[in-house]
């Protein structure tokens, strides 16, 4: 982890958690009949997108929810946003139900939805002003528009903005209510590296100011850069959860090099490591430093071509979760 190790600040009456999910499930009707008299759809078949998720996000913490497409990230986050009710389990935002007690929750959260949802014919300034007027304790709208570098585009219709500009406007509106909890659903998907960096900076600044963040992403780098804790979702459940260090702790490190012609592999004594050799020798180990020292001792003065030694990466863990469970 590179930055933002934030210690929790003020406690909220005993609980440091701004968000808790307990046994949360969410089902969607896949087939439904329409009743004209009541104007309601009566579901006949269901698909369970979220299958028992437990999560908590502490005050001042940036929590990243990772997952492949269709893992259930957005379905979960929408429940936190109060856009739907879970079919089972409970969700508490600041200790409140985000649907039934929306009035007590909404002014403390800022949301970036997966799709922005802007009326295309309004200008940036009109949208910012209108949104500003819907907020309980808004920050000056022009400041936020400036913070996302859209001041020069203030009078441009939203329909004419680029994807990156639209996303930046999205972030500006989410921050405008000075939220204690930011909920960001794939905020940087489809953005160029520069826009992504500038959005990361805004998010980091928010965390430094004491806000908590729930972020979904399928960019592993984004989670590595920003998150205090990470959960990897797959097929509707949380497959791994913890700090980056905790998540990669159980996964082995890896050493590889081109098989040297003048040395015998039988002389290589690396207890606890597994060795596979063809043209390239690969060792996986839970004791990277010790194994590497033994490899270097074994090699002596021989140059090991293509020598590469690396700790377990989030990518490795992520891919193994995605692979193994798909085989079921």
């Amino acid at each position: 982890m590179t930055s933002t190790a934030i210690t929790p600040v003020a406690q909220d009456h005993g609980s440091a958690d701004v968000l808790t999910l307990t046994g949360v499930r969410r089902s969607y009707p896949t087939r439904s009949r329409f009743n004209v008299l009541t104007g309601r759809r009566v579901p006949v078949e269901w698909f369970e997108a979220v299958r028992g998720v437990d999560l908590r996000v502490g005050r001042g913490e940036l929590f990243a929810l990772l997952g492949t497409n269709g893992a259930g990230k957005t379905s979960t986050v929408e429940l936190v946003e109060g856009l739907g009710r879970p079919s089972a389990g409970t969700i508490r935002v600041f200790g409140r139900d985000p649907v039934a007690e929306r009035r007590l929750v909404r002014h403390r959260t800022g949301v970036v939805l997966q799709a922005s949802g802007f009326p295309p014919s309004l200008t940036v300034a009109e949208m910012a002003r209108a949104w500003h007027a819907t907020l309980t304790r808004p920050l000056p709208w022009a400041e936020l528009v400036d913070a996302v570098a859209l001041t020069g585009r203030a009078d441009v219709e939203i329909a004419k903005l680029s994807g990156g500009e639209r996303r930046r406007l999205d972030i500006a509106l989410a921050l405008m209510g000075d939220p204690e909890l930011l909920i960001l659903d794939e905020p940087t998907t489809g953005l160029d590296p520069e826009s992504r960096r500038s959005i990361w900076d805004l998010i980091k600044a928010r965390v430094v100011a004491g806000s908590s963040v729930l972020l979904t992403t399928h960019y592993l780098e984004e989670a590595e850069q920003l998150a205090d804790r990470i959960a990897i979702m797959h097929e509707g459940v949380v497959a791994a959860e913890g700090t980056l260090a905790e998540i990669v702790a159980d996964a082995p490190a890896r050493i590889s090099f081109v098989r040297p012609s003048g040395l015998s592999l039988t002389d290589l004594d690396v207890p606890g490591a597994s060795v596979t050799a063809s043209d390239t020798v690969t060792l996986t180990t839970h004791a990277l430093q010790d194994t590497l020292r033994r490899v270097l001792t074994w090699a002596g003065d021989t140059q090991l071509a293509g020598l590469d030694a690396r700790s377990a990466s989030l990518e490795q863990v992520f891919l193994s979760i995605a692979d193994t469970q798909e085989l079921r």
Partner: protein
């Protein structure tokens, strides 16, 4: 950026400020949509020209003018335009965005209706005013208010309800057709209700447009749908209340079914 530890800024947000902002944004969006503006502004007047040939003398023409402008206004300005606004906003995911913020569901659903209400009141005012200039009588002015308020509530509620089963702006032309056709045919301003079989005629008075026509006719002529004049304010108010009743029921039904079944997300 701001620090959370700073003393809380005063809460300036209020329901009125929030709703006002949504109404203002919706008005801007409506005025920039040329098709919607044409339907909302020009169509009722075209209908007035088309239908006014039915009435023979000036006095009757005066009454008919108000009826046609109010009725077609309710259908095209309030009902059809609101259905397309709500469905369009849902397709653009604007409704979902608003629902994820502080606006309440009621504020979100009613904000796009407000500029349409204003347009309708202007049109109805022009229709009725023009009618009075043509010499239409005015027996019970308060019944005009009942007709407008009752009609606006019922057709706003019906629009919310219709939006629950309308998936796209294009399909709104189809989904709004049944109520529009029934209202054009069975509310007494294109075909006289007396020309219909008795049971149909009686049923027609419980449809969501006929009571508007009844109330407006009553306001001008003082004659109830049963064809009898009413003496005294008490009896007139009672008669007006009876004509308003179906509109209140449609309002209740439309909002209960509409709000309960409303889909905020095009994918749901």
């Amino acid at each position: 950026m701001t620090a959370l530890t700073a003393p809380a800024r005063p809460a300036i947000g209020s329901g009125r400020r929030r709703f006002g902002a949504l109404v203002r944004a919706e008005t801007t969006i409506l005025l920039r949509n040329k098709t919607a503006v044409f339907i909302a502004v020009a169509l009722p007047f075209l209908m007035a020209v088309a239908f006014s040939g039915i009435a023979m003398d000036r006095e009757l023409l005066g009454v008919t003018l108000g009826i046609i402008l109010l009725a077609t206004g309710l259908l095209f300005v309030v009902y059809y335009t609101l259905v397309t606004s709500l469905v369009g906003r849902r397709e653009q995911l604007v409704l979902k965005r608003l629902l994820s913020g502080e606006p309440t569901p009621w504020e979100i659903l009613l904000a796009p209706a407000v500029p349409l209400w204003v347009l309708l009141v202007i049109q109805a005012g022009l229709g009725v005013g023009g009618g009075l200039l043509l010499g239409a009588p005015l027996a019970h002015p308060w019944a005009l208010v009942l007709a407008v308020v009752g009609g606006v509530s019922a057709w706003t509620a019906l629009a919310v309800w219709s939006a629950t089963w309308t998936r796209t702006v294009e399909s709104a032309q189809l989904t709004t057709m049944p109520l529009m056709m029934i209202s054009l045919l069975l509310s007494g301003f294109s075909i006289p209700l007396s020309a219909l079989p008795e049971p149909v005629e009686r049923l027609a008075h419980w449809l969501p447009m006929t009571p508007v026509v009844d109330l407006l006719t009553f306001a001008h002529t003082g004659i109830t749908p049963a064809g009898t004049p009413v003496d005294g304010l008490g009896a007139a108010l009672l008669a007006g209340g009876w004509m308003l009743l179906p509109l209140l029921l449609w309002t209740l039904l439309g909002f209960v079914a509409g709000v309960r079944g409303f889909r905020w997300d095009p994918r749901s």
